[in-house]
Amino acid sequence: MERVPIQLTVNGQSYQVEVEPRMLLVHCIRDVLNLTGTHIGCDTTSCGACTVLWNGRPVKSCTVFAVQADGGEILTVEGLERDGQLHPVQEGFWEEHGLQCGFCTPGMMMTAVALLQENADPSEEEIRKAISGNLCRCTGYVNIVKAIQYAARKMRETVPAAVGIAGGE
């Protein structure tokens, strides 16, 4: 069976792995690299639970082959915390109770991180548009929006370098 050697930088750490071409990026992240923070929800490109940043852009990692990402930078939810300090987006979800069951949360947070990198002060409408590919069946989104607004405020008040993250563009 064909196996392809690939190199991925995930959360700042370089990995050399061999994968079958048909292996999805999310399976590589979870089953090969053992980073299980990234969830598999629908597996049909609908729910966004598997969202990771690939070269800085949020994508559904169930709809990318791992071989496609060869040489690329991936950021998963495990890469958000720094030195025991939650990322402002994580802190926002904690403070504003932006979750109930928590299944969509890692993907939701990765989309939020990407949004706030591009737009430091998004309107509620911009937030709702940005997360429209991430489905939450519990919260009704109200507290998720509040959590992202909390993070935006926090990040604007903080020195940018302090919230810089690996795996971005």
């Binding site: 071409p21 049909t44 966004g48 852009r57 709809t63 990318v64 496609q68 991430n134």
Partner: protein
């Protein structure tokens, strides 16, 4: 779900990609954004033996106007398209279309070329490109050929592209004076395919009569549909709601939807009528502002 096994070939030039397609013929599939192909492979609706990844082929991701034409590279991502100042200012109908495709995460990877080359009548760009009378550029072993959008869509999931050809570029005529277009999509929820959608493009002469009309319909037939009778009814006329209602009725009559989970055929026909009417209204307001 895990797709069937395949061999992976990454092309680094268009020549290499075409050579790979020549080598593997009908067993190969081009991987662009992958946002339709990979889901189809998971369901085993597509089981290509070879995947030719063109994502690292340079030169296919530019958006520019030259010689009276807008040129969109086949690998331009939907996100890039919807954010492009050139597209937003000069071709708002294309921005309308890009920003209602799937969801923002899918649009970060999905490409314009893929949206057309997939040949899915539920995809959104085909109707807009029909309304704009675009041309598709295909590269193959014997070079480049230009295909009229009217000849491009052959059947459901079937286009005029040969197995060893790649869609490299879409060409759209630059907008004439006093022209405008709009895309109106009705969907059950964010990210869904259209129940029905309509693209409309209008150009007015100095006397404010309609001199160019384009209407394309999404997901109401076995392939993307041009509403030709509706277009002809508009030509030479002064725009009015009454005229637009008559044209929308002709567009609805041209639609041939099938009943499914998105609704019965008659409902979809009614949605096509309403979307056509609204797209014409918005196209007119843009033409008047231009």
């Amino acid at each position: 779900m895990i797709p069937g096994p395949f061999s992976y070939r990454r092309a680094t030039s268009i020549e290499e990609a075409i050579a790979l397609l020549q080598q593997y013929g009908g067993d190969a599939k081009v991987l662009s954004g992958g946002q339709s192909l990979i889901p189809m492979m998971k369901f085993r609706l597509a089981e290509p033996a070879v995947i030719v990844d063109i994502n690292r082929v340079p030169g296919l991701d530019t958006i520019e106007e030259r010689n009276g034409l807008l040129s969109i590279g086949g690998l331009v991502r939907e996100t890039t398209l919807e954010r492009s100042p050139l597209i937003r200012q000069r071709y708002p109908i294309i921005a309308d279309t890009a920003e209602v495709i799937a969801d923002p995460l899918v649009r970060n990877l999905a490409t314009v070329g893929g949206n057309l080359a997939h040949g899915d009548p539920a995809n959104d760009h085909p109707a807009t490109m029909l309304a704009l009378r675009a041309e598709v550029v295909a590269r193959g072993p014997s070079g480049e050929r230009v295909i009229s959008i009217d000849d491009f869509f052959v059947d459901t999931f079937t286009t005029a592209l040969a197995p060893d050809e790649i869609l490299t570029e879409i060409r759209v005529p630059a907008p004439p004076p006093r022209s405008g277009g709009a895309y109106m999509k009705f969907e059950r929820k964010v990210g869904d395919y259209a129940v029905a959608a309509a693209a409309a493009f209008l150009a007015l002469d100095e006397a404010r009569k309609i001199v160019r009309a384009g209407i394309g319909l999404t997901n109401v037939s076995y392939k993307p549909l041009r509403a030709e009778a509706a277009e002809n009814a508009l030509l030479g006329q002064a725009p009015s709601d009454e005229l637009f209602r008559a044209a929308a009725e002709l567009a609805a009559q041209a639609a041939d939807p099938t009943s499914d989970l998105r609704g019965p055929a008659e409902y979809k026909r009614a949605v096509a009528r309403t979307m056509t009417f609204r797209a014409l209204q918005k196209a007119l307001s843009r033409a008047q502002a231009a």
